[in-house]
Every structure is written in structure tokens, then in C-alpha cells.
Amino acid sequence: MKVLMFGWEFPPLITGGLGVACHGITRGLAQLGAKITLVVPRYIDRSPKFLKLVSADKILSKRESGQDIDLSEIIPLISAYISPEDYEDWYKKAFTSAASIKLLYGPDLFYEMERFALAAGLVASKAKFDVIHCHDWLTAKAAIVAKKILGVPMVMHVHSIENDRSVFCNPAVSEVEKEGLEAADCVLCVSRYTMERVKKIYGIPKSKMDVVHNGIDLKNCALPRVNMSRKSTKQALFLGRITWQKGPDYFVDSARIMLEKRSGLRFVLAGWGDKAIPLIDRVAKWRLGTKILFAGFLNDTDVKRLFRTSDLFMMPSISEPFGLVTLEALSQGVPAVISKQSGISEVLDTVPNADYWDTEKFASFGLQILDNPVQSQKMLNQLWPEIEAMNWERNGKKILEHYEKLISRQ
């Protein structure tokens, strides 16, 4: 199976869930024998061996200087088999170097998108592929171009839609999103929650849609243990971009309610974004600055260490297509309260959830969790097999089945 994939983020150039998911999906597919060519705007560091990473920038600059593109630059010639050591080595490097947002999301995103589509056409006319797979709106145009040239089925993977990302949707973005969804032969959504929204907002029929939940690479992780210590300062965590979508203001509102009942708690917001400054001002106004702490942006290693010292994870996202971070928290033994408006809540239905705006409910669930670590451990014991099963290989199988179905229909 030769897959021509279009992605915007790939480790180490990632800013959030999209890059992590793209890495997981390609790795899952590669393990099942798929030969993947992944076109990204640009990449730093070397490509992992399980796929062929193609830089759109490079392709375009080659063409501009009149050079021909070599087939070996596009097609993964080596078998997809990767030695675990080799992979480990690449993985470590990829996930410890910091991503530059500027490098990924330049000043004129639409111009970048068009350039990317141009490169897509060049790649598609150079080699044969069985299927095209793109991720979110930025890569939709590229997939449409490639489909026109190759005449093979196109899959669009929806990690988030414009309505998730901002209060005021950019109509130009929605337009591209719609075009991609309509052109796709199959639309894969990261959750039922997202699938329903795609149907409602874009009128895409369910008959050509399916859900492929994100996975987590647990690497033989043992059953996580909830912190049972009776330390006086229990810590609750918010982790993610401090932006409208993630609902950080509902986190601090819940924190305030919880602090009224239990003044010894500590709340930490890890991350940064355009909501950080106004939220810091709000916390200062409440005189809660030593109780609700802002950690700033943390790297991967520090995030793991922060999980280890936390007793509660709260994700009050306004709209969260999936919410992989919840799985990360649980796998580190940190019990969670999550937003109903998230994809992950449909998978982990025993994890306490509430409407993102219901700060009272978030607070009371939060306090219950902090008071009953034994209960949380029980819940985690029950959930664990389900979480373990949520690996990328399983998702890869599902995606591959869709590929085969699409090809056989042709």
C-alpha cells in the first residue's frame, strides 16, 4: 500500500496535538506495512526511517532552480521495518528539541497553503500512489490537487475544525475546510463529537465518515499508581495552550471555588497563549497569586515531571475534538475531570465529566477526586485495559481497512 500523505506538523516541528497524532498515525500504518510518503512544509533533523519525509520547500526550490526531482527523494525505498533502537534514538531527539511556531505558521498562512499545494502537484505527478491522506484544512488543497492528478481515493483526517479553534470563525478557513471535506472520498474524525459537528456544520453525510480515535504510545507502561500520600498541598493541573479553546478561565474559576473550601490547594497552569495575561490579571485581582500559579511553557520532560507531582488534572476545553492530554495524565496516574465537549469523554465514560462552563461541577468533582485517591485508583484499574488498547497500531488497522475499501470500490 503506497500512501501519499499531507501533514503540516511532524516531530520535532510540532506545536500541539496535530503533530503528535500525525506521528502516531504514520507509525501505526508503517508497522502494518504501509509505505508512506509524508509531505510537510519543511522539516528539520533527519527523517525517521519508517516513512519518507518530503519537504515542500525543498521540492519547490529545486523546481525554481530548474532541477529535476529524484524519485528517491519521494518514495520510501527501504522497507518500513525499523529497528527499535534506531527509532528510539530518533524519537528522543525529535521530542526534546523545541518547535518554533513561527517556522510552522508563518505570517501568511494562505500563501503557504497554496505553495504547499503546488509542491503536492509536483510530487503527485512524479510517482504512483494508491491512496491520498491529508490532515486538516491546511493540507486539504494539496490533497485535492493530488487527487486530480493521480485519480486515486482521497481521505481527509479531521483533527479539529475552525469552529473548535476560535470564537469568530475565519470564513476563508471554513471555505477551504468545506472544499476538502466535500472532495474527500472518506472523512475520518478523531471522535464522534467531531463527526457530529462536521455533519452539522458542513452537512457531510455520515455514510462517508468514520471515527478513528487518537492513540497513545504507552511503551509497555505499567498500571499507573495514583498518588496516595496525605500531603497537605495537593496540586491540580491545567495543561495546554492558554487560549479561548482550552477554557483556562473556567479552570481558574473552578480553582477559586475549590480554594474557598480548601485553602491549602495549589493550582498550576502550564502553557502559554493569548489568554495568559488577562488571566494573570484576574488571579492577581482575586489575590490568589500564590495559590494559582502560572508555570509558563514547559518542555516534554518537565511536563512529565509536573504530572508526577500533581494530584488532579482538569481539562475544561470549550471544544476539544479529542483531548489526548487526558490519556497522558491518566497514564501518569493523575486522575482527571474533563469537559463534556471533548472527544475523549466519549471513550472514557467513567472519567468524571461536566459541561465546560459548569465550574461548580468541575470544582465538586475535583474535590471528590482529591479526597478519594483510592476511588480514583479503582477507576483507573478498570479503565486501564481500554487505555492500553488505544494504541496507534489498532488505529492503523482501522485506517488501512478504509484504504482497502476505497480502493476496491474504484
Binding site: 494573570i280 492577581a284 500559579l293
Partner: protein, 391 residues
Amino acid sequence: MKTVVFYFQVHQPYRMRNYHILDIGKNHSYFDDVQNIEIIKKVAGKCYLPANRMIAQLVRETKGKFRVSYSVSGVALEQMQKEVPEVIDSFRDLAQTGGVEFLAETYYHSLASVFSQAEFEDQVRRQMDTVQRLFNYKPYTFRNTELIYHDHLAWLAQNLGFKAVLTEGVDHLIGRDGACNMFKARHADVKVMCRNYRLSDDIAFRFSAHKWSEFPLFADKWASWVKHSPGPLVNIFIDYETFGEHHWESSGIFGFLKYMPEALLNTGEIEILTPGEAAQKYAPTAEISPPHWISWADTERDLSAWLGNDMQRDAMGKLYEMEGRIKAANDPGLLEDWRKLSTSDHYYYMSTKREGDAEVHTYFNPHLGPHFAYITMMRILNDVEERAKKN
């Protein structure tokens, strides 16, 4: 005869480092040693050493007719002793000229006078002891952090035996030329001397301002302004870093300093005294009683440079709220850290008055600007609080 009084402020804080969230409960080093050492060394080389040398020479050349006063914060003295002991030596040399008065202030350059009498008195005594020990000099005039003043401050100073304090000449309190008078504090037997901010800022701020109509400023021009300004008192209170640091050597500031005493004395109508001497010479002619705390900071001349927004009020409020617990913990290291955190500079960094550019930077980079200063301080205070609990 008109009297000119010089007072120079010498202070360097222990600046905070970027204290990490994961340091809480594990690592109790809060200050950026590398940066602090770098700065004290730099300022010593550019300002303290050359300016001290020149002033000692000027005092000796004029046989004490040119005399000055210094207020050196305890935290500055500490850093000098450790990193640039030659600066301590040069201050000792200045003390030996007999033409220098050392003023008393809070050791940590804090706002303790506003929040805690006990802490205030501890900090002042400690700074006086340090000056006594290092320079064999017993301060007898008081100068509060950033010239912060209120009736309450005069009362605090009186309790510690001071006869005179220094503050800002605020127009709306004392009138445009009010600073030329010797004042008496209301409710305290303390004389109050007010800064002549116009003649002070000619040197401190405008000296190297190319757009200023009086640029360049020469010593005799400035001396003639002093001569023609209302008397009897002309209080020139400025940051010592004016010489060589705020205005670089290339601006000619040292040339100005070199010829200024001569230019003043040559008028034949000017004598130079230290604050303590002036306070002994002049009887008060008016009373001063500000309706609120005043200071020499910003255009507001009040406490808003340190307590103007919620972040500053939250941070400093929390700090002083902890005082009882910190002292009860009986842990000298903890108390020392807590006191270093009381230095006014930390709260000044949280000021949002100069919004605009600074805010834009913070938006893109959490490691800059007032909000960063605040969230860093709050992480540190969280750790300080935990330490106090453990004891």
C-alpha cells in the same frame, strides 16, 4: 549665603532568577547570581569606582568645602563586599575625608515603613550597623526607600532617634519653589528636607538629552541656575549611577562633576553642606503633612510605582502577610530570603504603567515584562510559604 546639599543614592537589588514551577519544594535559590554579579561588577567599573575617586579628590582639593552624602542600601553593600571589595575600600576612603555623611535607610531597600514597624526598625538598624562596621560612621539622618514619606514615616524616624529625613519636593504639597525651605514634620520633632527635582533632574535625566534646549549642560551654567534659584536650600538628590551608568563617561558627565564644585563655590554666594549639617543650621519655616504616601518615583510621586496594580498589591500584600509566620519559623536562611524579596525593585518590575511595547513583548514571550515578574515572584512566595509551614 545659599546652601546646596548633595545626596547620592547607591543601590543594587538581588534580582530574581526564572524560578521554575518544578523548583517549588526542592530548590530554594531564588536569585540570579550570575546576573547580579555581572551587574555589580559592571556598575562598579563604570560608576562607583571612578566617581568615588573623583569625589574624594574634590573633597580634599576644596578642603571640605565640597561635601556630599550617600545612602547605600545594605544589599548593595553586601554585594560589593563579596564581588567588588575595592568599592568598599573607596567608600572607606571617602569616609576618611571628613567631608562625607552616610545616611540611614532600610537594609533591603524595602517598603517596610508602609507595612511593618518591627521589620522597618530591624532593617534600618541593620543597615546602620553595617555602615558603622564598614566605614566607622554612625548615620544620624534618615532617607527612606525611594524617598517614600508620610507623617507616619517621620514618627518612625523619630522613634529611631533621627532628627531629619529626606523626601521628594512635590509641587502640589509645598508649591513650586517649596523645596528651598526647611520643613518640620507634623506630629514628630523631625526636620524634613525636600528634593529640588528641577535642578536635580537637570543632571540626572536631562544631562545627555540632545533634544533639550539647554544641551549641552556645563558646570558653570548649572551653577548659575543654582545661584539664581530661590533659597536658602537647594537639595540635589540623585541616583549615584547618574555618573557613568545612566550617563556614560562619553557624555562628559565626569567632566561636569569635576568642575561643578568649583563653579558653585566661585559664585561666592554658595556653601555646600551635608543633609545632617543643613538640618542643624536651619530652623524649619513651614510644616509638611502629605495627605498620602509620597515618593520620588514616576510622575505620580506616590506609591503607585510599586503598588499601582493588582499584581503588585497581591505580591507585596502576600509578602507582608507572611511576616509573622516567617519570623516564628526561626530559620535564619528563610528570613534572609524573605527579606531579600522585600526589595522594592521586584515590585517595580511588575508595574504596568509603561504598557504598550512591554505588553506586546509579554504576549510573545513569557520571559519578559511585568506579568512575568509577578508570576515568578508568586512561584517563589509559594515555596517560601511551604518552608515556613515545615518549621
